[in-house]
């Protein structure tokens, strides 16, 4: 259903689709289409191809490689890219630290970091959450104490996604311990190869290693790595988190999953009316979500950057629920074939090969329980919506 797009937008999407499928190696895209995770190399290869064609950071300022696109065009870029199974440009680089540096960094920081960030020459990690600062991010405890030209950083971050690959990490650190909560927090860039930085991967219940703990033990950070003003980091974090109003819906991902579900279920659906009804209902709800994305994009132009919008919370909430439903349906489609845990679909000679989806169905189901927890848990999103509608 592309009823929400006009002719030009459809043509724009088609052009991108052609580019993505033509330029990004099929080997990478096929792997993602089969439900496998992108490797570090996949991310790097793909982002560099995109960057070479000016398609890695379209939402950045034009002088730093951005495009002067409409919100809908940016949305189509992400959706088509996802639906073509292209590993997305690393979100920590392109959607998080990049825009912060471009907006609040000084000229030296921009020149030093932005091109390398766009090209994934630097792999950024995010250092926000801490063991005791999850939904309550403002209670974070990692400190950075000024000592001459350096900050000395101590503390622990957690849930650092793909931190095992990280070159640099952007952190929220407490620089004024006397100040209340959100005040006294700064936004600091830390080279992960600095002495005193330790990364410990955390195994998740899907069996994979996607997130990490990052420990800081008297880490020396040059003062020039402070972004913007001292103790103003909360503002930048809010800007960063409020910047992407619609991508949290992950509409391309959900649509991909639905297409794959239909393909894998095939004729099974004719004999399973309950399964088919759930799948159909998911499709309907996905169409609603997609149209909600377009509605929010349509008024995006009228909102100042960084303004929160309750409908952005709606997208996160529904997006995560629908992703989770899709992951449950894949388990339902595979049935008993999903029960064996396998690293790959390879089996010893003479053994029956597992059907497509058998490898990733359950791990995806378990892994995507995260969707309602991360990026502002769904409980936090409901709270944001309440605040807007109850005007408390």
């Amino acid at each position: 259903m592309d009823l929400g797009l006009d002719k030009d937008e459809r043509a724009f999407a088609a052009e991108l689709r052609e580019f993505f499928t033509g330029e990004v190696p099929a080997e990478i895209r096929d792997r993602l289409a089969r439900g496998e995770h992108a490797t570090r190399e996949d991310f790097v290869t793909s982002q560099r191809i995109l960057n070479a064609h000016g398609l890695a950071v379209p939402h950045w300022p034009v002088e730093w490689g951005g495009k002067d696109w409409t919100p809908v065009q940016r949305h189509l870029w992400l959706t088509e890219l996802t639906m073509a199974h292209v590993p997305p440009p690393l979100v920590f680089n392109t959607a998080m630290v990049g825009p912060v540096i471009a907006t609040f960094g000084n000229q030296e920081q921009k020149e030093r970091f932005l091109p390398a960030t766009a090209n994934l020459d630097i792999w950024w990690s995010q250092g926000f959450s801490e063991p005791n600062a999850g939904s309550d991010l403002a209670s974070l405890k990692t400190t950075a104490v000024r000592d001459g030209d350096t900050f000395v950083v101590n503390g622990q971050k957690t849930w650092t996604t793909l931190g095992q690959y990280g070159d640099w990490i952007f952190c929220l650190v407490r620089t004024d311990p006397a100040a209340q909560q959100q005040r006294g927090i700064s936004f600091l860039l830390v080279d992960m190869r600095s002495p005193g930085v330790t990364v410990r991967p955390i195994q998740l219940i899907d069996g994979g290693y996607e997130v990490n703990e990052v420990f800081f033990d008297d880490v020396q950070v040059p003062a020039e790595n402070l972004v913007g003003e001292l103790n103003a980091g909360w503002t930048y974090a809010k800007f960063l988190l409020g910047n992407e109003r619609t991508s949290n819906a992950q509409i391309g991902l959900i649509k991909n999953r639905i297409l794959r579900l239909k393909r894998l279920a095939g004729p099974l659906l004719d004999g399973e009316p309950l399964l088919r009804a759930r799948l159909t209902t998911l499709e309907v709800q996905t169409a609603a979500l997609e149209m909600s994305v377009l509605r929010l994009l349509a008024r995006e132009a009228t909102l100042p950057p960084g303004t929160p919008d309750p409908d952005s919370s709606v997208l996160k909430l529904r997006g995560s629920e629908l992703q989770q439903q899709a992951s449950e349906l894949l388990v339902d489609v595979l049935g008993p074939a999903a029960l064996a845990y396998r690293e790959s679909g390879d089996v010893p000679d003479g053994f029956p090969p597992p059907p497509e989806g058998a490898v990733d169905a359950f791990p995806t189901y378990f892994n995507w329980r995260k969707a309602s927890i991360y990026a502002g848990s769904n409980e936090v999103q409901r709270q944001i919506i309440c605040k807007a509608i109850l005007k408390f």
């Binding site: 929400g4 499709e283 377009l294």
Partner: protein
Amino acid sequence: MDLDLTPEQRLLAETLDDLLDKRYPPNERLALLRSDDGWSRAMWEQYAALGLLGLPFAEEHGGAGMGAAELLVVAESFGKALVLEPYLPTVVLGGSLVAAAGTQAQQAQVLPRVADGSLLLAFAYAEPSSRWALAASGTRYANGRISGAKVTVIGGDRAHRLVVTAADPSGTTGLYLVDAQGVRRDGYAMQDGLRGADVVFDDAPAEPLGSGGDALPVVRRVLDLATAYLCAEAVGAMERMLAMTVEYLKTRVQFGHPIAVFQALQHRAADMYVSVEQSRSMALLARLALAPEQDDDARHLAIRAAKVQIDLASRHVSQEAIQLHGGIGMTMEYPVGHYAKRVAVIAKTFADTDLLVTELGAAGGLT
């Protein structure tokens, strides 16, 4: 693509909302509901004066020559006020069928009188055991006469003329115009207070609408329009239920606080908001699907998908609206229950959710 209403459509919505805010407060609506007609002839004249009754018809037939989008604007405003007048049966169903299938002469005879408010129509298609099927079987046409029975004819109690489906001797379902004088009617209120009737045809004089032949494609097309109309109406109704609930949470005091401070209730209000917003999006999809350039099959699927979303959401929103109001929400004197009744009836009009989901699934879904 511009997803917004045009300035003219927005003006129409505002005009209507203003009018209905003034003329349709809940207590007056309740009085109408209990009146003999069940709705207001005076309001009907107002709608005629505003051009609403001829909105989608050609100007040569006294219409405003507007499109489906404007009808949906009316629907949403009517949904907010829970309007009782027989707009759906007369304009959206009856009028559209005559406009789509009638001969020029029939259109010229019927549509101007619909537009000026002097003629009420209804569409009689359901039969006692047809459930949601569209094809006529128990109602038969031959030699200018119809016999059989139709049930749950929306607006059938006061309609002057009925558009009727009947099987001709070859078994083909056709459309016929029947003067209400020639039939027997058992009129009643429906579960939401809107009026309807069962109709018995006993050799009733009937005039084929248009040039004959299989009428099911045109019936499906008009029901798609009417379904989109119901979707928009339900969105208007849900918006009001949410607003009333939020207002109630903020004013109702229990345990020394407005109950809006209770987080469990807050989160449920947030979930209601999510349902309303998703429904608004699907009502928009239905509107876009009605653009003339869309093909019939894609339109049919999109509108029925919209109805699935809206039926699920309106059940959620209406049940929660009553629950969060508590006892007061269950009384006739308080408006929220009337909205709940309306959306419950909408969910069982033209098709139910199971049928929509099953047919959508059998058609391969939306992609």
